[in-house]
């Protein structure tokens, strides 16, 4: 699904990702953990194609195609979805209208006609159930006046609607109370499928109690320094990140 090789990325002239490597197979769930400022969100933004992130070298192959060659909207239509840490507000644009535009942009990309209104409403109903959001939210302006929990749920709702191949979750758990966390995690779990891969970026282990990953990576200083099974997350929770830093320092 996704293959990242020797990726070097800088922002404002400062290099953040350093010879970063990662392989995610179709259907796998990978978690990336690590202390603040190690480049986790840079990785997410780079994959989604945010302008300010400058790729110095390296390659990213997504479903056999060169991802770095594509514009951000093309990447999205090809199936890369980023659940934002801080979703933006768009006044006057309802969730329904936003989703309709997004779905039809994707359909057009694959040579399909816009979705029939009836089918669209049916799809909306199905997906709303998934993240337990109310119908009223659909006619509100996107993210305007939404609580932190509502914003995150709305991100997962959009993810469900767009049915991407690669879901990148950037600190989706931050700012969520335990109930909202459970709802969001349940939504994500229902979207797990053999055709879909996940990259879950998180600072804390608690999300991984709900979304059980196949692989856990620890990121430090712009690269992955340790990988393991789900137990690694627990170990990090118990011991913190300092021992990793010590290990890295010892190797150097």
């Amino acid at each position: 699904m996704l293959s990242i090789k020797n990726l070097n990325v800088a922002i404002n002239g400062q290099q953040i990702l350093k010879d970063f490597n990662l392989e995610i197979k179709t259907g796998e769930v990978h978690a990336i953990m690590g202390p603040n400022g190690t480049g986790k969100s840079t990785l997410a933004s780079t994959l989604a194609g945010k302008e300010a992130y400058e790729v110095l070298s390296g390659e990213v192959i997504f479903k056999g195609k060169d991802l770095l060659e594509m514009s951000p909207d093309e990447r999205a239509r090809e199936g890369v979805f980023l659940a934002f840490q801080y979703p933006v507000e768009i006044p006057g644009v309802t969730v329904t209208n936003f989703m309709k535009a997004a779905i039809n942009a994707k359909r057009r990309h694959f040579g399909l006609d816009p979705m029939d209104a009836k089918d669209f409403l049916k799809l909306m109903r199905q997906k709303m159930e998934l993240v337990e959001i109310k119908k009223e939210m659909m006619s509100r302006s996107l993210n305007e006046g939404f609580s932190g929990g509502e914003k995150k749920r709305n991100e997962i709702f959009q993810m469900a609607m767009l049915e991407p191949s690669l879901c990148i979750l950037d600190e989706t758990d931050s700012g969520l109370d335990i109930d909202a966390l459970r709802i969001v995690a349940n939504g994500i779990n229902k979207l797990r499928s053999p055709e879909r891969s996940f990259l879950v970026i998180t600072h804390y282990q608690r999300l991984l109690n709900y979304i059980v990953p196949d692989v856990v990576h620890v990121m430090f200083g712009g690269k992955i320094v340790k990988s393991g099974g789900k137990e690694l997350a627990l170990e990090l929770e118990e011991k913190g990140y300092d021992w990793i830093k010590d290990e890295v320092a010892a190797e150097a």
Binding site: E51, F81, V88, I90, V93, A102, Q158
Partner: protein
């Protein structure tokens, strides 16, 4: 140039689609303005003596005035002696039906996407077509007449309904009101006249389509709408002009009067030629629009979508004289490239319990300057008056400007005034979010802008709202990319 700037440049740079010229045989007044020009125009129109006197009064007032320059726009002094004040088709006979209209003119309106043929016109809209200085034809007149509604060109009204015209013309915007109103009073050529009798709800939208065609010509139309007791009318105005290198002046006057319990809803989609990408050419749109809520419980509502003109300078206003009367102003003003706009409204509260609402949405792109200027005046007599103003500015890119000049004059302590202003920017984060959901920059900008303008668009009649949405997309096409 940053990537964001590049994007912005691409979206805001599309071509003006209405810039063609129609080749018709026209006759003109001599260049320049003297008392003889005024007499020439009046004679051409076969006007009665009182009308000529009225014009001369306007001309004399104008001579004593000076070009105002207090507005937040800049342009060279206009040479009023190099303008042609009258341009009309050389017609041989009176137009009684479509067959009498020059096929070139019919083709023009077809090209503009507004068919003149009644059967093809959007159901429920009667239209007065004005090209340069004259009304071409007014549709649906006969069926409106059955209800006592008068809808015709102002030239015809002067002849056919002199009592009404004499009573109301200049009653809201007198000749000496301001420099351009005085000029208009002297040389106004055509425009629409509407009278809705007592208790009648006008069954269709009335509309005027203004087109400037001739070169070096100014357009000075005059519109007068009277809603008698308990009546209602919704009126729409649209406009375009050819692309020309020199600036052309459009100085219109619109007067509205509502009697007891009457309502006028006036909507404008202004799309005059804005000049080219380097700021060359374009229309100077200096218009005086004012409504008088004369009767109790009457209401006047202005909705405007301003996308064209090199310079837009106007303040559709309401004088709330009748007790409990209501004034509303909903505006979207878009400026791009080198366009300048200084627009807003005046709400003059005189009667008791009068209420007004102002919603202004400015959008600036390119190197344009967009100003909102609004006056809320509450007179001593206006007990319990209420105003709410909301002025929002949206910036696309970082080379444009947005300015807000709110003025409040309150002379009655029972009044309540609320003012709210915001400025926002279509920044990288917003675009990136939309991109990440698969939307191109153009789709994203168009969606964001329509969302931003929603509060104003919902006050436009349906067909116009659709039109305005499209127009906005075209005006800003290329501003982000």
């Amino acid at each position: 140039m940053t990537e964001n700037d590049k994007i912005i440049e691409e979206v805001t740079q599309s071509d003006y689609k209405y810039g063609f010229v129609t080749n018709i045989e026209q006759e003109f007044a001599l260049k320049g303005l003297t008392e003889d020009t005024v007499r020439f125009i009046s004679a051409k129109k076969g006007e009665p003596e009182w009308m000529l006197e009225w014009r001369i009064k306007g001309y004399k007032a104008w001579l004593k005035m000076e070009q105002p320059h207090w507005q937040n726009v800049s342009f060279p002094n206009i040479d009023f002696q190099s303008i042609i004040y009258y341009a009309a088709t050389k017609k041989k006979k009176k137009v009684n039906s479509l067959d009498d209209i020059d096929p070139e003119i019919l083709a023009t309106y077809k090209k503009l996407g507004i068919p003149i043929q009644e059967q093809k016109v959007l159901a429920g809209v009667a239209v007065d077509y004005v090209m340069d200085s004259e009304s071409v034809i007014t549709t649906f007149r006969e069926s409106l007449k059955e209800k006592g509604i008068i809808f015709c060109s102002i030239s015809e009204a002067v002849k056919d309904y002199p009592d009404l015209v004499r009573q109301y013309l200049g009653s809201v915007v007198p000749q000496r009101d301001n420099y351009y109103a005085a000029l208009n009073s002297a040389v106004f050529s055509d425009g629409s006249f509407v009278y809705i009798p007592k208790g009648v709800r006008c069954p269709m939208e009335l509309s005027t389509y203004f087109r400037i065609n001739a070169e070096n010509t100014g357009q000075f139309e005059r519109t007068l709408i009277i809603a008698d007791e308990g009546s209602y009318v919704s009126y729409l105005e649209g406009c375009t002009a050819p692309m020309r290198d020199e600036n052309q002046l459009h100085a219109a006057v619109v007067e509205l009067v509502t009697h007891d319990n009457a309502e006028i809803k006036y909507s404008t989609v202004q799309n005059w030629y804005p000049g080219d990408k380097n700021g060359k050419g374009g229309i100077y749109n200096f218009v005086t629009k004012r409504g008088l809520c004369k009767g109790v419980n009457s209401k006047i509502s202005w909705t405007q979508v301003e996308t064209g003109s090199a310079i837009t300078w106007k303040y559709p206003s309401c004088i709330l004289k009748g007790d409990n009367s209501i004034g509303e102003f909903y505006s979207v003003a878009v400026t791009n490239n080198y366009q300048q706009a200084d627009t807003g409204t005046k709400m003059i509260h005189i009667g008791k319990n009068t209420r007004s609402r102002i919603v202004s949405k400015g959008i600036s792109a390119g190197k344009s300057q967009n100003s909102y200027r609004g006056l809320v005046q509450i007179h001593r007599t206006a007990d319990n008056a209420y105003n709410s103003s909301q002025c929002d500015s949206l910036l696309i890119g970082d080379r444009c400007g947005a300015h807000t000049f709110p003025y409040l004059e309150i002379k009655n302590n029972s009044g309540k005034v609320e003012h709210e202003a915001t400025t926002s920017k279509i920044g990288e984060d917003l675009l990136f979010y939309c991109n990440q959901r698969g939307l191109s920059n153009e789709e994203a900008v168009s969606m964001i802008i329509n969302g931003y303008c929603k509060e104003v668009f919902q006050h436009l009649p349906m067909e116009f709202a659709v039109e305005a949405t499209k127009l906005l997309a075209i005006s800003l096409e290329g501003s982000v990319g």
